[in-house]
């Protein structure tokens, strides 16, 4: 039964991915990609990776979907008419098939027994004060990766802002969305925001021992922010705002400060003194989640498009 489910899911995923590549229409391709992300989240559940499934559903499908649909709408006007020559397509197909066959051969020849770091991860789990091994990897064993990842988000936001025309630097992204007094969107934004904030904090908190964590919680917060802006209840922020920039940097700054303190107190960068791991991880996680929410929201809004005053 479960083998049949897996096979069916794999066929479905392949079909949706093929649709994304083959579709003539740009918008249809994006819709295909969003469906692909949602189905991929189910595949992650089947692979016993609920943390990844949450991230995939929230970011790979949800936020990416909003981003790409917005881009497809902005680039509207004629689907692509140009198709490459048949010869090139055959050549590309042959190359792609060869690469896929190579990876497939590797999959069939994976070593037995499989190498794993799970016992090592389990060994020191108690010292981190966490019950969720994935978040122990993210916040303790490999915390440097997570710090650098947040820095990558900051750099991406700086990169996107830099794409603004000179006159718009420091301005606001997105057009101003006007709230319709009796609209469904403002109602949804008002009704969902309190529930969503509770859900986000819950995801962050429960991530210590169960599937969840700072990234998933931050994504929920980002989505709520976008909803409130789309509903016209708040304007998109001026990218020159001091408070906005402080919000961007709070997470990485606290992360870095705790990391540097680790050199003095525990002997190496991002090391936690015994007994303090859980407290320090939470100290990092709360500002980090907040910053991630702001960073993800800004990534989605794109380059500033109108002057600050508008």
């Amino acid at each position: 039964m479960s083998a049949a489910f897996d096979a069916g899911l794999a066929v479905l995923l392949f079909g949706v991915a093929a649709w994304t590549v083959a579709s003539r229409d740009r918008f249809a391709a994006v819709v295909g990609f969003v469906v692909y992300g949602s189905l991929l989240a189910v595949a992650w559940l089947r692979l016993h990776a609920p943390d990844v499934a949450l991230t995939e559903a929230a970011i790979g499908s949800g936020l990416s979907g909003v981003l790409l649909l917005g881009a497809a709408a902005r680039l509207r006007g004629g689907t692509e008419a140009r198709r490459p020559a048949a010869g090139l397509r055959v050549l590309a197909a042959a190359l792609a098939a060869a690469v896929a066959a190579g990876i497939g051969a590797v999959v069939l020849a994976l070593p037995e027994p499989a190498p794993t770091l799970a016992p090592l991860a389990a060994e020191d789990l108690d010292a981190t004060g966490l019950g969720n091994a994935v978040n122990a990897v993210l916040m303790a064993y490999r915390a440097t990766d997570t710090l650098l990842e947040v820095v990558v988000l900051v750099l991406a936001v700086v990169g996107i802002w830099s794409l603004a025309p000179d006159a718009r630097w420091g301005g606001r992204p997105w057009p101003r969305h006007e709230a319709a007094a009796d609209g469904v969107l403002p109602f949804l934004a008002r009704a969902l925001t309190p529930v969503g904030v509770v859900a986000a904090v819950y995801l962050l908190w429960v991530g210590a021992d169960a599937p969840g964590g700072g990234f998933q919680g931050g994504t929920v917060l980002a989505a709520l922010w976008l909803l409130v802006v789309l509903a016209g209840l708040l304007d998109a922020p001026a990218t020159s705002g001091k408070r906005l920039r402080l919000a961007l940097l709070a997470g990485p700054a606290v992360f870095l400060a705790v990391g540097l303190a680790g050199i003095l107190l525990a002997g190496s960068f991002l090391a936690y003194p015994p007994g303090w791991a859980k407290a320090l991880i939470l100290t990092i996680e709360f500002p980090k989640t907040f910053s991630i929410a702001v960073l993800l929201g800004l990534l989605l809004m794109g380059a500033p498009r109108r002057s600050d005053a508008a």
């Binding site: 991929l40 990844v52 004629g78 140009r82 794993t116 978040n135 380059a303």
Partner: protein
């Protein structure tokens, strides 16, 4: 065929599909989508390897799983930057963008030969 092998072969197929799309499409947004398909395939391969390493009471090796979470978020950041570039490129060519019927500059042009 076990679930892991099934998803492993799917991952290989997804990488191939995405690679084909990234080469064949002239439209930068379509290339970006295809590139993300490749990313999904690579992540899935990681997931299969994590699942195979399930021991010590875990459903999968937590280390590759955590790496995939980091990867998904970095991929999103890169996608957002790419979308910013594509939209800016279209704006510079005169709004509204005319889609793939104009010769693309930069990466799109060079790959087309």
């Amino acid at each position: 065929m076990s679930g892991e092998t099934c998803f492993g072969l799917l991952a290989a197929a997804l990488v191939g599909l995405g690679l084909y799309g990234a080469i064949v499409h002239g439209d930068p947004l379509r290339r970006l989508l295809a590139f993300n398909l490749v990313g999904g395939g690579v992540f899935l391969l990681f997931g299969v390897i994590a699942r195979r390493g399930a021991t010590a009471g875990f459903g999968g090796d937590p280390v590759p799983q955590a790496l995939v979470i980091t990867g998904i978020i970095v991929a999103f950041a890169a996608t957002a930057l790419a979308v910013g570039l594509i939209v800016r490129l279209a704006d510079l060519r005169g709004a509204p963008a005319r889609g793939g019927d104009t010769p693309s500059a930069g990466a799109a042009g060079s790959a087309r030969g």
